[in-house]
Amino acid sequence: MPDRSLKNCRVLVVEDEYILAQELEIELQDAGAIVVGPVADLADAVALIQADDGIDAAILDANLGGNMVFPAAELLIEREVPIVFTTGYDASAIPSRFSKVARCDKPVSMKKIIEAIGRPPKG
């Protein structure tokens, strides 16, 4: 089975830790993706999602400086944009309504991210 890919995907990054956001950005660019953001807090994330309807996928840190990212996640799910939560929490911290959303434990591995939100190969 050919691998999924993020090539030319516009990927939103929501991550409050600058260093991690930056690292993700670099890794995504290395994977051929176009990074939207990154943004560090929920308000910025929501604003960005509402302003940009060309988002193909999103990587969301579950905990943004004490605020949970879920309102942003709901907006994206509504648009059927594939998302992945990155989190340091146990699974129990994620409400059950997001049980189908992929999760990636920090520190994240790009391989897993791509598996979660990458486009399936065409054909």
């Binding site: 409050d16 830790e17 600058y18 260093i19 991690l20 956001a21 930056q22 690292e23 990154p38 560090a40 807090d41 905990n63 400086g65 004490g66 989190t87 340091g88 929490y89 146990d90 911290a93 434990d105 920090k106 520190p107 994240v108």
Partner: protein
Amino acid sequence: MSDMSDCHTFLDRQRVLSEFGDFVLDHDDLDEILNEGCRLVAAALGADLAKVIEIERQSDTGFIRAGVGWNPGVVGHERISLNERSSEAYAIEKTEPVITNDIAQEKRFEFPSFLTDHGVVAVVNVPIFLPGRIPYGILQVDARRPREFDQEDIEFLKTYSMVLGPVIDRIQIAKERRATDALRATDLAALEVLQRVSTELVGEREPQTLFDRIVEAAASLMGSDAASIHVLDPATNRLKLVAWRGFHPDSARFWEWMRFDTRSSCSRTLGTGERMIVPDVDRLDGRQEDLEAYRRSNLLSVQSTPLKAFSGQVVGMLSTHWRKRRELALDEYRHFDVLVRLSADLIERLHATERLRESESTLAAALESVPVGVAVIDLSGAAVVSNAEYRRFLPTGIIPSQDSSAPARWQAWDSEGRPLKPSNFPGARALRGETVMPGLEMLHTDAAGHETWTTVATVPIRDEQGHVTGAAAAIADVDAAKRSVEALRTSEERLREFGQASQDVLWIRDAEQLQWQYLTPAFEAIYGLSREEAQSGDNFRNWLDLIVPEDRTRASEAIKRVHQGEHVTFDYRIRRPKDGAIRWLRDTDFPIADMDGKVRLIGGVGHDMTELRETERRLEVLMEGIPQLVWRALGEGDWTWSNPQWSEYTGIGFEDSKGRGWLDAFHPDDRATVRSAWSAARANGQFEVEARIRRGRDSEYRWFQTRASAVRDEAGLIVEWLGTSTDVHDMREMQERQHVLVDELQHRTRNLMGVVRSVSDKTARNSSDLPEFRRRFRDQLDALSRVQGLLSRLNDHDRVTFDELIHAELAAMDGAADRVILDGPKGVRLRSSTVQTLAMALHELATNAVKYGALSQPQGRLKVDWTLAGGTGGSPWLHIDWRESGVVVPAVRPVRPGGGQGRELIERALPYQLKAKTNFTFEADGVHCTIAIPISASMTSSEVAHA
């Protein structure tokens, strides 16, 4: 007349008589004889006409019986009146001939017109007498010419008449005899018919055959063309056509059912109870359908005779029908009426038989349904009538004493237990005239060897003279009853043994005097008193005296309630007379009622509770001393006891808590959980639930862990529940907080790992060799660990303050403290999420200052100021001013290895992560960096104000 002619005449007349005599000898038909007589006499007298008139007494008329010379329509038809103006009547009265020589001249008499019609002029009437001078009639000679009948004529006629009399008499007698003979033959035939029928009717033939024979006989007796019989159907009170002959089938169908109220001819018979005779149905004013039925069968005449039972009730109807008009004389019903009587009797008998059969079958059914074997036996001991239950015990139907095959099956014993001989069995005794009631217990063994206890009762049956003619016997199966009595006896025996062995006192008192009838040995052990002593005198009173005064009324009341039918359990204390010791007893007392429901006896079980009470008491004391809420319960949480702490904590007294009252103290949202936990408790043998209980003092609901364990008896059955409720509120809160902290810690750790990884990557990229990497990386890890050290000692409510952070960072720069001035308020609290990044930025600034800036040169100075100022939107901002001074800056600034990292943090990471506003510049004498960070309002504690 001349002699010669006289002589002729005489001879002629002699010859006439002789001829007539011959004729008479050869004939026996009166009309023929009389007609010949008329012819001869007319000829002898030279007359044209003669006739014989027969007297008909009833109508006082004379019937022209015979004659000669008359026109048709006279002889055998005409009648003349024999009134006072009649010559014939006159002649009969005078008993001698009367002569009218000329009718026209005759003054004495009037003559019938047909005489003159025939031209009669002269008439001579000679009376005819039968032997014994019985007038029969008149011989009349009529002449069409006037003439004088002379003496000779008269004499001749007289002679002739005298001959006629006996002739007529003889012939009449002969005729009557023949008629009588014929009648007798008819009667005989009828009687034969009747005899045959009556013989058949008493025989055992099918009713239908009998009805057919009756109909046949009716037709035969009445000479009818058709006949039918209807019989009363008692159920519907209608008559049913049961047999018929000579009907068209349609008519038969029409007449099949007759009611008393319809207007048919037959129904009228029924209505009146009289015979109905209809000579001609066409003249009957009946229903059209009825007439149609007659016509269909081509019948014109009918008689219907009711068949009456002995009581007079109409039970049927026998009818005969003719095709011609027919009207019978009463006399002709003679034989038929006998048949009617026979038929009525038959019907009555059939009805009686039917009723008997019904009542017999009812009786038989009743007999079969009784659960007792019943039979009537004759003197030989054989059953005349019996039911199946009887035959179950006596298949041959013969009583054992008379049946050689049976005695072995039956056994009975006298009062001393000796076997009875069959001759003394109840059946045999009854046939000897004895009554065996209410019966003898006998053991029956059936063919399969199965034994059944029975009670056999017998009564002799006597005739009017008092002689025994048989007996009635009843066999009742009492096996189950007897065996249950046996079983009861056994069980009573066992109970007694049980009572003897029991450690509890078992006793029975009579309900009236309340005296002990039964008292088990355990009494002595518990009460310390012998049973003889206890049972002497009024032992109820004695017993009450043993009870301590405080409990005496209660005990007495309890017994009273048992007397009224209640089951009562009550506790009381006795003081043993022997040693004065107090013992706690629990009595469970119950009424024992008789069949009528009246309490005859009072039973009781007394249990010595003393040990238990003491144990309980100790336990209660223990329970009252511990800080938990303790309680005891039965069933599914019915509290029986709770320690004072419960009431003290909840403010709900025990009385309100017992049963399910305690539930009120639980939080309404938790009550369902608690109830369902109780429902499951029995199966688990364990009750455990965490629920909120209201504290009475402040109505606060606090979390309690409530647990109960089943207390079981030796058989493993749950006796009661022992439960505790423990306040776990604080523990629960702690646990919750811990949970949050663990989550947070995980989050931080994982973020930190990400940061470390990233820092290591970057450091590796920016280091020229491994020693440099090691130095730089260790340095950065140190900074991170300092931050973690600050963060880790905090709890939820505490925050790292900026002054702590800057002191900690600069303290790490050894030996430069005197060249550093810090100025700003204490207690500016930082959000945990901001601490790490801010610390990293400060670390970079400090590191650079130590390596290349103010702290690398002796004359260099560092001043860090910070202030708190209101920003836009109301949130305060922390303004940090990092100013290095007195630094000799080389003309060409060396490229600082890794130097980009610090600026990146300040210029990019802080704005990104903390929404900070930063500025970083190289002034002529050193670095100047400003950082402004939004601080949430709550982060500014009161300490800020006076800092």
